[in-house]
């Protein structure tokens, strides 16, 4: 089965949405967080960055988000795109505790000057997408960890950005909640048709979610391998227990170990 996402991805295969071109990032004290990192992300991709702690995954996301700038190299965007059309999800839900769920999701549009009345439908559609339509008036403290993360995802998706950056968003959640959110994330991505760059420590999570896994090593942070996961979307719970999944996981694990061995 071929979804529209695949088709779109193949059609735009030659024109990346965003690319890192030989990017270095050096912090004060000669800490080389990234060395010569190149990465093309095409529209519709689900790219995972996988690697040990300190290999510069968060640094790469911050560069893409425009929160800091490359020491060398450059970040190129497709025409009409830019770091100002992003959604971001952090490891913590990072909600404003003084605002209701609805107002938290309103934030990106509020900062662009949109009144709540004018975007109420967008807010509620997105809350329905993440399954929280009945919690619009709740405050973050009244929600479970998984629900807070859903609000955070809703906030990132409400503006229908082309690119969503996620930095270990599910690392702090229990496994059952994480599996559920993995499934739902793929569904939501298909619905709004965005591109995702997803940072994770988990081989299993990266295989389940992505079509490309970029394996990174530390000291200095760099890309050492890229693994394709050629399993079609939509992927559901059955995929998780399939032989295909196990095969891809083994391949990714081997690549990671090999890479670690090379790196050491």
């Amino acid at each position: 089965m071929t979804s529209n996402g695949d088709l779109a991805a193949r059609l735009s295969a030659r024109a990346p949405l965003m690319s890192l071109q030989s990017v270095d990032k050096v912090f004060a004290g000669d800490v080389v967080a990234l060395r010569n990192m190149s990465l093309d992300v095409r529209a519709g991709d689900f790219v995972s960055l996988l690697g040990p702690s300190g290999c510069g995954k968060s640094t790469a996301l911050r560069l893409i988000a425009g929160l800091s700038h490359p020491t060398r190299g450059r970040i190129a965007w497709a025409d009409g795109q830019g770091a100002d059309q992003l959604g971001v999800v952090f490891q913590e839900p990072t909600l404003m505790p003084w605002a209701t769920v609805e107002d938290n999701v309103w934030l990106p549009m509020r900062l662009k000057g949109a009144s709540k009345a004018s975007v109420r439908d967008d807010i509620h559609d997105t809350l329905r997408l993440v399954g929280l339509e009945n919690f619009a008036e709740a405050y973050p403290r009244e929600l479970s960890g998984g629900m807070k993360m859903r609000v955070s995802i809703a906030r990132a998706m409400v503006t229908h950005p082309k690119l969503i950056l996620m930095d270990e968003p599910f690392a702090a959640l229990d496994e059952i909640t994480r599996f559920k959110l993995n499934n739902d994330l793929l569904e939501m991505k298909a619905k709004i048709g965005c591109t995702v760059i997803f940072v994770t420590h988990s081989v299993f999570e990266s295989v389940f979610l992505s079509d490309r896994i970029v394996i990174m090593a530390a000291r200095p942070g760099r890309v050492i391998r890229e693994v394709q996961v050629d399993a079609p979307y939509p992927r559901d719970e059955a995929f998780r227990t399939s032989a295909e999944y196990a095969g891809h996981t083994r391949a990714a694990s081997d690549a990671l170990h090999e890479a670690m061995g090379e790196a050491a």
Binding site: R62, A65, G66, L67, A83, D84, L86, V88, F90, E92, T94, M96, P97, W98, A99, L107, P108, R110, L111, K112, Y139, P140, R141
Partner: protein, 286 residues
């Protein structure tokens, strides 16, 4: 009943615990008010008995009846004095809030401003106001304005320092998010730093409310002495010169009462503003 059916045994055990907890909560609710009231009544009674049985002269310690009588007799005088002290305190507090918040906002907008002026805010704070008051009296014509400045100096610092910390305490990832969405300085202040600073500011307000009253009382003691006849503290001082101990105690009680009312008001404001979301204002069962 069979052993295979343990529910009737287990259920009451749970309920009993819950019932105990509820009863405890109910008792606590009542005791919170009745116990302090009881202590007050008993202390007044002990005070009365000590004065009457010990035949303590009224210029050493007037009995509660004498104080009450004097309060009624001097009510006009005490009331107008209290109005002056109240106005002094509230004006000083209002100025402290405006000045403290404005300066805190300035500090967070400009590191240079903070570096330049924060040390002087500290100097203003650590210099005892009682040493400054006589000077103010020399340089400022109006005794009321001089007293107001004294009270303001004391009340200002906790608001400034708490609000400054609060404005900086906003979550770093949220700050990044605001940057990503291209928020202006004003939006950042209005939607992120301001709300994040609110609990800190309200904590400062509670302290500043009490300090404004202390500042006002100190100022009245020092400045009101020159026969300018300021508020309650001046009345108290004057009563002590005239050995009118009934009035002295009545004035003292009114000052305490004013302090309690101010504390209650600031606590209420804090509760109302934070009850929906801040951990400090949220009741927990266990």
């Amino acid at each position: 009943m069979t052993i295979a059916d343990p529910a009737p045994v287990a259920a009451p055990a749970m309920d009993a615990e819950e019932a105990v907890r509820q009863r405890q909560a109910q008792i606590n609710r009542v005791a919170k008010w009745t116990l302090p009231s009881l202590v007050m009544v008993l202390s007044i009674l002990a005070w009365h008995l000590y004065v009457t049985i010990g035949e303590v002269p009224h210029y050493i310690l007037p009995g509660p009846l004498l104080v009450a009588q004097q309060a009624v007799e001097d009510w006009g005088l005490l009331w107008s004095a209290m109005m002056i002290t109240t106005r002094l305190t509230l004006l000083a507090l209002a100025m402290a809030v405006i000045g403290g918040v404005a300066l805190a906002v300035l500090f967070t907008q400009s590191k240079w401003a903070e570096m330049s002026f924060f040390p002087y805010a500290v100097i203003l704070q650590v210099t005892p106001v009682i040493a400054v008051a006589p000077l103010l009296q020399i340089y400022v014509d109006s005794a009321f304005v001089a007293a107001l400045l004294c009270a303001w100096i004391v009340a200002f610092f906790p608001i400034l320092s708490n609000t400054t910390i609060g404005l900086k305490s906003a979550d770093h990832n949220l700050q990044d998010l605001f940057s990503i969405y291209g928020a202006s300085r004003w939006q950042r202040l209005r939607y992120l730093q301001g709300p994040a600073a609110l609990p800190f500011f309200l904590g400062g307000l509670k302290i500043a409310g009490g300090l404004a009253l202390i500042g006002a009382v100190v100022a009245e003691f020092v400045i009101g002495r020159a026969g300018t006849g300021l508020g309650l503290a001046s009345t108290l001082l004057e009563a002590s010169y005239r050995f009118n101990f009934g009035r002295l105690y009545a004035a003292l009680l009114l000052i305490s009462g004013l302090g309690i009312v101010i504390f209650a008001c600031t606590s209420l404001i804090s509760h109302l503003l934070l009850r929906k979301w801040h951990e400090s204002a949220i009741k927990r069962d266990v």
